[in-house]
C-alpha cells in the first residue's frame, strides 16, 4: 500500500532538511509516531539507522529502518531492516520565492501476509494517510515559526548593531 502527502512551506529546502533529519525534532511533528530515534552511531548519510513506531489501530507498529538515499536538501529515503516492510521518501523541491514543496511517500505492507495483509493495509491506510497529512501541517508550522524566530533575531541583532554604531 502506498500513501503520499504534500505541502508547500515558506522556507528554504535547507531549513526543512534540518527538521526531517533530526530525530528529536521529527518526534515533535510526526503525528502518531511514538518513537523515532537513531539506532547505532553511524554518521548521517546512507547506512544511518532509525527505529520508529507509529500507533495504528490497536498496536504501535514500526520498523528498524536504514537510510538508503541521502541527497542533501533534496531527497531522503529509507527502507526497513526489521519489522513492518516499508520504504519511505522525503522529497524537497525548491519553488520560486524561497518556498519548498515537500512530499512524503510511504509504501508499506507485510510480504507473504496474503489476503489478511491486503485487507489490513487498506483498513490502516486512512489512518496512516491522516497521520502524515497532519505531520506535514505540523512540519510547516514548526519550520515557518522557526524562520520567523530566526528573522526576528536577525533584525534585533541588526538594530542593536546600528544603535551601538
Amino acid at each position: 500500500m502506498r500513501v503520499a502527502a504534500t505541502i508547500d512551506i515558506a522556507a528554504t529546502p535547507a531549513e526543512v532538511w534540518g527538521f526531517i533529519t533530526d530525530p528529536e525534532r521529527s518526534l515533535h511533528f510526526l503525528h502518531g509516531v511514538t518513537r523515532f530515534e537513531r539506532a547505532g552511531d553511524h554518521a548521517p548519510g546512507p547506512g544511518m539507522r532509525f527505529r520508529m513506531l507509529m500507533r495504528i489501530g490497536s498496536a504501535e507498529i514500526g520498523s528498524l529502518v536504514e537510510v538508503v538515499e541521502w541527497h542533501e536538501h533534496r531527497d531522503l529515503a529509507w527502507t526497513s531492516v526489521t519489522g513492518l516492510d516499508q520504504r519511505a521518501r522525503w522529497r524537497l523541491r525548491e519553488r520560486d520565492s524561497g518556498r519548498t514543496h515537500v512530499e512524503f511517500r510511504l509504501s508499506y505492507g507485510v510480504a507473504g501476509a496474503g489476503l489478511g495483509g491486503w485487507i489490513a493495509e487498506r483498513v490502516a491506510a486512512p489512518q496512516v494517510r491522516r497521520n502524515f497529512q497532519r505531520s506535514l501541517v505540523q512540519l510547516k508550522r514548526q519550520v515557518e515559526h522557526e524562520r520567523l524566530r530566526t528573522d526576528a533575531a536577525r533584525r534585533r541583532a541588526a538594530r542593536s548593531t546600528a544603535s551601538s554604531g
Binding site: 490497536s58 504501535e60 528498524l64 526489521t82 507485510v110 495483509g117 493495509e121 490502516a124
Partner: protein, 325 residues
Amino acid sequence: MSDGPATTRPHTNGHAPGALNGARVADPAREPTPGGPPLGALAGVARGVLRGVRDVVQSRIPKADLDERDPDYIRENLPRLWLLSSLYFRGEVRGLGNVPETGPVLLVGNHSGGNLTPDTGVLMLAFSAYFGVERRFHALAHNLVLAAPGLGFLRRFGTVAATPENMETALRAGAALLVYPGGDYEVHRPSWERHTVDMGGRKGFIREALRHDVPIVPVVAIGGQETALFLSRGEGLARSLMLDRILRLKVLPISIAVPWGLNIGDMLGHVPLPAKIVIEVLPPIHLREEFGAEPDLDEVYDHVVRLMQETLDALAAERRLPVIG
C-alpha cells in the same frame, strides 16, 4: 495459560505436565474403589474411561521445543491479528516501553475470557509489533490448550507448556516470557468479579523470577471477562468428576456464551463478545533490588497483586459500559 509453584515430578512426553501448579496427577487406576461390588465395577469402568482420556490428552501434548516458535509465521499473521485486535476488540495496549529493551523478562498478567483469552492475542500482537518478531516471546499455556485440536498454531506463536523446564529454557535464551499465574482458576471467575485480580495464591512465578534473576513486568488487562457471562468456576463439579486429578483442571466453568447459550466446561470454546480490551504494562520490578537478597515470597506476591489490582481499578474506573468499554 497457567503458572504456579514449582515442584518436581517424573517427566512425561518430554516435559512435566502440572509441575508448575504443584498438582498431584493421580492415576485413577490406583484410586480406592468406592462402594460394594456393583458400584465397584461401575467405578472400574469410569476409571478406565478417565485413564483413556488422560492418556489421549498426554499423548497430544507436544514435546517441549521452544524452536517451534516461527518468526516468519508470526510476521505473516500479524496483519490478521491486527484486524481482529483493532476492529473487533478495539484493543489498546499502553506502556510497552516499560518492558526492558533486551534480556529475559517475566511478564506476569491477570487472565480473563474463559478458554478463549482475547487479551493474550492483543498483547502478543502488540509485543511483536513493538519489538519486532525477531525478539523471542513465549507464553506459557495449560497442557489442554496445547493438546486441543486446531490450536497447534499457538505453538508457532511461541506458546509452550507451563513447565519449569520450558520456563528455564526460555529465560536462558533471553526471551520475554508471559505467564498467567491465575491460570484456569482466574480465567473462569464469575463476570461480576471481572475487576478483581485473583491468582489463587500461586507464587511459583516469583520463585522462578528469583532463580533466574529476571525482572517481573506486571501486565494488567481489562475486558476479557466481558466476552461472555461467566457464572461459576464449577470447582465442586470438577472435583466430583475427578478432573482436577486427571486433567489438572480445578474448574469446570459454567457460563452463558455465544453460540451455545448455557455453556458447561467451555471445552469447545465460544464466540467471544466484542468487548473492548485495554492492557497496561507496568514498570519492571527488580526483586532483589527492591526486596533484598532473599525476598519473602508472600511480601512480593502481595506487592505484585496490589500493584495490579490498583491498575485494574483505574482501568475499571475509565470504563463506562461493559463490552462497549
